[in-house]
Symmetry: C2
Subunit: 342 residues, 2 copies
Amino acid sequence: MPNLVRMGKRVSLKDIAAKVGVSTALVSYVINGLEKEKRVGPEIVKKIREVARELNYKPNQIARSLRKGSTNTIGLIVADIANPFFGQLARIIEDEAARHHYTVIIGSSDENCVKSAALIEALLDRQVDGFIIVPSEGCNASIETLVQREVPVVLVDRFLPDVNANYIVLDNFKATYEAVTHFVAKGCERIAFVAYQSSLVHMQERIRGYRQAMKDHQLEEAIQVKELLYNHAKDFMDNGVSELLTGNQKPDALLFATNALSISGLYAIKNHNIKVPEDMAVIGFDGNEVFDFFYSPLTYIEQPIDQMGKESVRILMEQIKGNHQTVQIELQHRLIQRQSCG
Amino acid sequence: MPNLVRMGKRVSLKDIAAKVGVSTALVSYVINGLEKEKRVGPEIVKKIREVARELNYKPNQIARSLRKGSTNTIGLIVADIANPFFGQLARIIEDEAARHHYTVIIGSSDENCVKSAALIEALLDRQVDGFIIVPSEGCNASIETLVQREVPVVLVDRFLPDVNANYIVLDNFKATYEAVTHFVAKGCERIAFVAYQSSLVHMQERIRGYRQAMKDHQLEEAIQVKELLYNHAKDFMDNGVSELLTGNQKPDALLFATNALSISGLYAIKNHNIKVPEDMAVIGFDGNEVFDFFYSPLTYIEQPIDQMGKESVRILMEQIKGNHQTVQIELQHRLIQRQSCG
DNA sequence: AATATATGCTTAAACGTTTAACCTAGGTAT
DNA sequence: ATACCTAGGTTAAACGTTTAAGCATATATT
């Protein structure tokens, strides 16, 4: 109630109808550009347009949504909107959705499947027309439910192998595979991989790509994967790296599996006064411009984030329109060479 | 229509009412925990609860919003959600709003007042209950309109001097003032300031703080402010800095007015092989962890972004509840000392 | 015995749209 | 004259809630 009092009541179809002296139906037709189809008289059309402008009429989307059963809103669930990777992605999705006259509601799951499920619930209650989701570990059930209920969903950045949902992801296997190959070309042999401990495919694929490449380059015995916990990555990174550096298998190259890991890792490297690339070559994942500030600018695997964002919206729009073919896309990375590999 | 077909129709109050054999009113009361107040019989209460759970009933927030006239949604307009500063801010606001059972819809204005106005319109059409806005240059009119209409608004990061709206911002004057003072303490004399060309108070205050500090330290004749255009900052930064470095007033210290400017600036500095802090001391605004990667980790002015986010939500909630006292808050910065000032 | 009070439930309007169905008057074709 | 269209409108239901108002019945008060 307070809103109505405060905001002096917004003008509705009824107000226009009253002022023009017609029914709300006619006004609705005109507002929605159906005047031909619904055969509204030309003078009336003109009058309605005038009055609508005069009263500064804006349709109430809530009412429209209730009636139409669709809200022109999509829910976007990312791991953390404060993470620049997801921030960029969100921005692209926001713009692309706007082009389709859709609004985006963003939620951060913190890679936590309980939070993720709660977000999905909340967004469903708000009747979003579809979802773009960066799925967390263990959220198979809630995504599966969405798919079952035929709620339009597109997974992005990662997918769930046992859920038959649409997705658009990077070819992660190839990405790390080529990173290792690049290291090898630069003469590295003891290449270690710092990843998150996660059953999610994107991480598993990155690990698999690393392993396979190591094998294919006859470096199988030098394989060394550090899997850190998401929540404790920062705390353990220092120890993790120390361990790596004091072990009997001291690596000459380090591959980081994500943006955040690169940041933490570079800190550790800096603190340990390790020289890049002389003592150790480094490649990161999802690099961004700031990594150029590292004294030896970081060579990194670039994801086609723009394409990922745009396509995810495109696919979702298709699904919302009723196209039920599941779409599953793998995009290719680009290796951006700087100076951290010599 | 397609939604209803696809999603197999969500269960409504009516469905529960029918199954239990009561009116929807009773169900509504029970769902909303008004069974005491509205004197619903204990067995009926139990039955309704059971059936609700059994049918997995979730209230339709759209319908509720239409009826109640409030959506439990707030609109957040930032310059660019892909910018980490705003990403962090958005994240804090998201979490804080969730604690109050509010959902946030984020829009990016690109510092463009037309876009900003369009976003405000779109969010109003969606009947948001209030706004948190990072105002762009020239958007006074649209904000003023909101205030006039008594739509709850809180400006954040910046405010508009001729609009009497709630705001929570940094004491920008003091921030740059103390940065200059810090430079002076480190022995710098020819301190230059790289800012955006903008009439917005936050920028003007930063410039004023710089100027005043320079005056107060008897360095008035060394005052040098470079004001760059938002859209061309990256392009011009290089030239701008070159100019600075070849001019007859070559500075021995550089103060950047924002995060983005620091990034561009550090690039230029790196490209020009300028030694920090020997050749030039540097202080940034809104520094974040990645600046530690610069070969000489950046000393920066830290904004209490957490407090800014939380308080903005708190103030907005007050306003939505009907408290019409305008609240205007200035927060204090912290100077984080690293190595870029010697 | 009459009246008040409490209890437990129903009715129906309202929020602002959309839209199928219906109505009316004039004009055309037969 | 009859039937039939067409143009231009109205009516009212529906979307899913919330909530004021009303209606019984039973119990308590005088």
